[in-house]
């Protein structure tokens, strides 16, 4: 068991009284907590126990409406990333990966801006702090992501590496531009109290063009020191910057840069700028003097800014592999005894050391939500930067993180639909997890059930399809919606349920004498074939229709076929034979002799089976009497019909 790096946070449950014992149960994303009756000895706390169950959720972000946009937009980007063609080698896909990384980052930024607006405009102080916290977390996330993009995905070599790091720092230090705007908009910029701060900040960020433009304003005010300003201006303009697309090699650039550096050093040693402390300061920065840089802590504000500036002015051709030496030393130098190393600092340090796993691990611990690590790991995995770092239970890290993230999403009442796509792209355990989770989505309306069913059908999860359809069908049946129940059982191709529904219909008919829901039975169509009982129901209704239309011959034929083809269940034969009575009693002969023989045969079959059934059990005398009368009536009618049929068939028409 690994040691815990941070102290666990304590959450107080407001409703549970102090001193009471709590019971708990784990859920997929939360804990259920309740008050127990357990009385440890010595306590005399009395009174009724609390009757609430409390749900403690770790991840609040999932319920924030603004952060929800983050989840949805990143889901869209994630799905797009998975469908990138796998045929091409990784190298040529790099621009695509970089643009996807930028998409993710712009989504984070958009969320951050919106949160910032809301944080500023809200009047509720608690909410305001909460939003403020979320904004700073998002800032940190974007900072880390950007650094990972520069170091891992873009993987710039020496020379361009520094340029990218400069961009990175500039992007995350926006207050310089605000200050500069203030200064420039004032009446006399060169006399503004922030003027020199702005100039120095520009130099620290390597924005020498802008520094020069600012310095010109000062130069016009002090014509006496014109030469000094001209010299500084020329130094600033001559500083070489590596051009990755150009023809100059790294060594050539290095030589040029060293020459320039020596020149600046000479001017410094000659005390050329000694009379103007500001220009002297700038000169020392240009030469890369560590102590001077450290003095500018206020303007630098972070150790990684210090790192990049130091590299810019002392080792611009730094190699990626050497980065971590400088990073470690800069961190130590920058943090004095008062300030403590924050988690963000260790994460950035791990990134500079190119230890991807440490970055991911630290981020997982610090953040309360798997969103960041899941998406970043997935992107890095696509860039083929992660070797299969096998965890104890066999799946690799990317899959583990995606599964954790998606399981968390699934507990959300609305975002579960996004989670499905994440499970799809976890080849080992994704399907099994989805199968377990999808059955537990609450189905309040038919529309939701239809969507869940579509998800299951697309992935051939037939077990889940059957189970969901059965739930919906049972619910419909309980509410007496037989048509709905039937349509659900047709969708699941559930013959057993269709039989159940037909039994219900037939029972209704026997009880009431008429069919309910004729619109359904009359229009069964091919669905009739799903179950034998259903077919019987359809055909039986057809018999009634034929009878109603006085098409007796056809009705008779149908009736007979229902019994002889064994479509009708034996329990229903008595009813069918009773239905045959009026046909037998008609003046006109409807059943032919052969048909009558068949009817008789059916009757005998029925009575013999009834006899064997009756001999065992006890039946009330009345029922037996009724049955006996019916049978006798039938036998009489059949005999009479047979007689008339024989005569009719034997008669020769003259």
């Amino acid at each position: 068991m690994e040691e815990v790096d941070v102290e666990p946070t304590v959450t107080n449950i407001p409703e549970i009284r102090h001193g009471k014992h709590m019971g708990f149960a784990w859920g997929p994303g939360d804990i259920l907590v309740y008050e127990t009756h357990f009385k440890p000895s010595g306590y005399t706390l009395s009174g009724p126990g609390g009757s609430f169950i409390h749900k403690v959720r770790k991840d609040e972000d999932i319920n924030s409406p603004i952060l929800r946009k983050l989840f949805n937009e990143s889901h869209h980007i994630f799905v797009g990333l998975q469908t990138i063609n796998d045929d091409l080698p990784s190298k040529s896909k790099r621009p695509q990966f970089i643009s996807i990384s930028r998409n993710y980052r712009s989504v984070i930024r958009a969320c951050m801006e919106e949160l910032q607006q809301v944080a500023v405009s809200t009047r509720d102080t608690e909410k305001g702090t909460q939003y403020g916290n979320q904004v700073s977390i998002l800032l940190a996330i974007e900072l880390i992501w950007n650094l990972c993009e520069v170091l891992f995905i873009d993987a710039a070599p020496a020379g361009s590496l520094l340029l990218h790091l400069l961009d990175w720092v500039r992007l995350h230090k926006a207050d310089v531009d605000e200050k500069a705007k203030d200064v420039l908009q004032s009446d006399s910029p060169a006399e503004h109290h922030n003027y020199w701060d702005v100039v120095v900040s520009y130099v620290l960020q390597g924005r020498l063009e802008e520094a020069r433009q600012m310095l010109v304003k000062q130069a016009t005010l002090q014509p006496a020191s014109r030469n000094m300003y001209k010299l500084m201006d020329s130094l600033l303009s001559k500083m070489p910057f590596y051009n990755p697309g150009g023809t100059q090699t790294l060594t050539e650039f290095d030589v040029k840069w060293r020459n320039w550096h020596e020149e600046v050093d000479r001017y410094l040693k000659d005390n050329t700028f000694a009379s103007n402390r500001h220009l002297e300061l700038i000169c020392k920065i240009l030469v890369g003097d560590e102590d001077t840089l450290l003095e500018q802590k206020e303007l630098l504000s972070t150790w990684y800014h210090f790192l990049v500036t130091r590299l810019l002015y002392s080792h611009p051709t730094v190699k990626p592999t050497d980065l971590h030496y400088y990073a470690q030393s800069c961190l130590t130098m920058f943090l004095d005894s008062r300030s403590v190393q924050e988690p963000l600092d260790s994460i950035l340090l791990a990134a500079f050391e190119f230890d991807i796993y440490l970055v991911i691990k630290d981020c997982s611990i610090v953040l309360n939500n798997w969103w960041f690590v899941a998406h970043l790991t997935d992107l890095l995995d696509h860039c083929k930067l992660l070797q299969s770092h096998n965890l104890n239970f066999g799946s690799n890290m990317r899959e583990f993180l995606l599964l954790e993230y998606a399981s968390g999403l699934f507990t959300h009442h609305s975002l579960w639909q996004c989670a499905v796509d994440y499970f799809d792209h976890c080849p080992e355990l994704g399907r099994a997890c989805l199968e377990l989770q999808i059955e537990r989505v609450p189905l309040d309306t038919e529309r939701k059930a239809l969507k869940v069913l579509r998800i299951c059908e697309e992935r051939q999860m037939s077990e889940q399809v059957r189970s969901i359809c059965k739930i919906m069908a049972m619910r419909a049946l309980r509410n007496n919606r037989l048509g709905s129940a039937l349509s659900w059982s047709i969708r699941a191709k559930d013959a057993a349920f269709a039989t159940l529904i037909s039994e219900r219909f037939l029972q209704d008919y026997c009880a009431k004498g008429t069919f309910s829901d004729l619109d359904l039975i009359d229009n069964l169509g091919p669905a009739m074939l799903l179950s034998d009982r259903l077919t019987f129901l359809g055909k039986y209704r057809e018999f009634h229709k034929l009878y109603g239309e006085k098409r007796f011959k056809e009705a008779a034929k149908l009736l007979l076929s229902l019994m002889t083809a064994k479509i009708a269940p034996q329990s229903f034969w008595m009813t069918l034979l009773t239905d045959a009575l009026p046909l037998l009693e008609q003046k006109e002969v409807i059943f032919s002799a052969d048909q009558t023989y068949e009817l008789m045969y059916c009757l005998e079959e029925l009575t013999s089976s009834l006899d064997t059934a009756a001999s065992g059990g006890e039946r009330p005398m009345q029922e037996e009497d009724v049955e006996q009368t019916k049978v006798e009536l039938l036998r009489l009618s059949l005999a009479r019909n047979l007689a008339m049929a024989i005569i009719k068939e034997g008669t020769v028409e003259t």
Binding site: R68, D444, L486
Partner: protein
């Protein structure tokens, strides 16, 4: 051009507010209803249409929220009753009228019929609503059809047990006739003037009884309706001509949730589906005579011989009914930039199209080529 606006709620329905026909304005206000949230909402948005825009893209027209109101249960259907009022039906079986006074930033509930659709011991979701101001007709999973009037407190009429399965959608054919579709693939015509509780006509497909989820009537020809259902096929029917649809077209690979004829330009039809696509169908007839269109399925079904037009008046027959294939074409275009989660709802008015998805995004397109 569309851009997605993410709104932190899954959109189940979206409708344009009607514009008066006298003004030639493009619509600029639409309402949406959400579903599957712990707290669902009905929201009204504006895209602030500038009169004559020389703008290419609609970034300035990002929908802005004007007001919203809590809604109990999922919003399963939503219609504008008039310029100020919106009717919604809920998964709790309730029917509600919301009012937003013009130029105001608030919305309030003006009428509420709770549990209009219900089971004896449970709630029954209400699934569809159609309006013909001031009359409102709703249908639900309980198989009832209920008629309300916006100015009366109680219910005007209930047709009990109108259907043994769920009624998914309803639309007006004429001012006194409505058409409903259900889970067993039937279209039922109801004459509201008659007191009987049975439909005046039932139509269905002779093959599999696929559940139907949406229906829309041709704006000019009241006997032509289009339906869509579970298998994603688009069917166009002529309700006078009996029991078979005239055209069956393979449209989507999953359930079709909504179908709409363009209200002023009915040669255009729009459908949206669970598979995440929104299709724009356009028929065109090359010559002066509005001609027939080949219906039937895309490749193999043999086309039937041209039916003799009723009343012998060929020019009125819609281009949607099938016939001689050589005389016209059908074009389909995807309107959304890429595959998204299910597109649940769409509405089109003038040149503007709005749709809402399960990816919690709204797309607005202000230059629909009609």
């Amino acid at each position: 051009m569309e851009s997605a606006k993410y709104v932190s709620q899954k959109i189940s329905k979206t409708r344009w507010r009607p514009v008066s026909y006298s003004s030639l304005q493009q619509p600029d206000i639409f309402a949406t209803g959400s579903w599957d949230n712990e707290e669902n909402k009905v929201s009204v948005w504006s895209i602030g249409n500038l009169g004559s825009s020389g703008l290419e893209d609609g970034f300035e027209g990002d929908p802005q929220l004007i007001c919203e109101q809590k809604h109990d249960g999922d919003v399963l259907d939503l219609q504008f009753l008039d310029q100020e009022r919106v009717v919604t039906v809920s998964s709790t079986g309730a029917v509600t009228i919301f009012r937003q006074a013009p130029n105001s930033q608030t919305m309030s509930i003006c009428k509420h019929w709770a549990r209009a659709h219900r089971y004896p011991s449970d709630n029954a979701p209400s699934t569809g609503v159609a309006c013909n101001s001031p009359e409102i007709v709703t249908v639900g999973e309980d198989g009832r059809i209920i008629v309300f009037r916006a100015d009366q407190e109680g219910v005007v009429r209930v047709i009990e047990n109108a259907d043994s399965s769920t009624l998914h959608a309803v639309t007006y054919l004429r001012t006194t006739e409505v058409l409903t579709v259900n889970s067993i693939g039937q279209l039922k015509l109801w004459d509201l003037r008659q007191q009987s509780n049975s439909p005046s006509q039932i139509l269905s497909l002779s093959r599999d009884r696929v559940p139907l989820y949406c229906v829309d009537r041709h704006p000019n020809q009241q006997h032509i309706v289009a339906t869509g259902g579970q298998d994603g096929m688009l069917c166009v029917w002529d309700v006078r001509q009996g029991n078979m649809p005239f055209s069956l077209m393979e449209a989507h690979s999953a359930e079709m949730w909504e179908v709409h004829f363009h209200p002023t330009n009915p040669d255009h039809l729009f459908t949206c589906s669970e598979d995440g696509s929104l299709l724009h169908w356009e028929t065109s007839s090359p010559s002066e005579m509005p001609s027939f269109l080949q219906g039937g399925r895309n490749s193999n079904m043999t086309s039937r011989s041209a039916m003799a037009p009723a009343g012998g008046n060929q020019s009125i027959i819609s281009a949607w009914l099938h016939g001689d294939s050589s005389k016209s074409r059908l074009e389909t275009t995807h309107m959304l930039p890429s595959q998204t989660l299910s597109v649940n709802s769409l509405d089109v008015l003038g040149q503007c199209l709005v749709c809402g998805t399960d990816g919690e995004a709204i797309f607005v397109n202000r230059q629909v080529p009609v």
